[in-house]
Assembly symmetry: C2
Homo-oligomer: 156 residues x 2
């Protein structure tokens, strides 16, 4: 079942981020900071919406999206991660589909997923392609030298 994340899910969200295997220490810290912002200021105040796929009390994966400032109808998918134990079970697909549906319900018309062009992100890029996203832009050496930005977009 996919639900809006609540305060009790925070520790498991942090844990999944840390164990995902692709995120840097700085990225793991970034998820922690935006989670703290959501707890402190709420979804509207922070601009970040976390959703979780749960099995009983266990979080199998989470996604985080929000509106892009200064646009009308564009949303960013900031984070999506699935617990290593729950991979290949459709959790990522369900979380992204629900994110898209939620964005549509808010009147959104575009979801942007920025990711890395590095080899260890090849499965992530393939996931977005499978989900109907198109890579519409890239910036060479964005994250660091040799680590490009890839911008995947789905027009909803």
């Amino acid at each position: 079942m996919i639900l809006t994340a609540t305060e009790e899910d925070g520790a498991q969200i942090q844990d999944i981020t840390a164990r995902a295997g692709v995120f840097s220490a700085e990225e793991i810290q970034c998820v922690r900071e935006i989670w703290d912002e959501v707890i402190a200021s709420g979804v509207e105040g922070s601009g970040y919406q976390f959703i979780v796929q749960k099995k009983d009390a266990q979080v199998l994966g989470f996604a985080c999206y929000g509106p892009r400032d200064l646009t009308s109808g564009v949303f960013d998918l900031y984070w999506i991660a699935v617990s290593p134990e729950a991979r290949r079970g459709g959790v990522g697909r369900a979380l992204l589909t629900e994110s898209e549906n939620a964005v549509r319900r808010k009147g959104g018309r575009m979801l942007i997923a920025e990711t890395s062009g590095a080899p260890n992100y090849a499965p992530t890029r393939q996931f977005y392609l499978n989900m109907g996203y198109t890579q519409e832009a890239a910036i060479k050496d964005f994250y660091s030298i040799g680590d490009d930005l890839a911008i995947f977009i789905k027009r909803l």
Copy 2:
């Protein structure tokens, strides 16, 4: 003379933004909010650095830049605007050059200027081209339907 903006420059920065003629009400409000964040949290805390070109006490133009999260050495040029009375006097060129030099001094290697592809932004796009920027990416219908995002980049 180009200086770090101080609290007393705030009103003139807001005024220049409002009179620039290209910014929407939401964008003008956005400049106000990030200015308030700088005053409240400082440059390091907020991540935004405002610089001004002044003639005596008069602000002729301003720029605002800061590091992009999760990258090493990438900075965003968030805002640059020149008072209508001071146009064609090299103020924009001086502000952008100083922004680039400051980014270099901080170890930055790339400055990104995101702007609109709309017709009324043609002079802005030409300005970036003249300053040695390359449009490396675009996203159609980003700001709104018919108003594309254009991403200009200078590798420093």
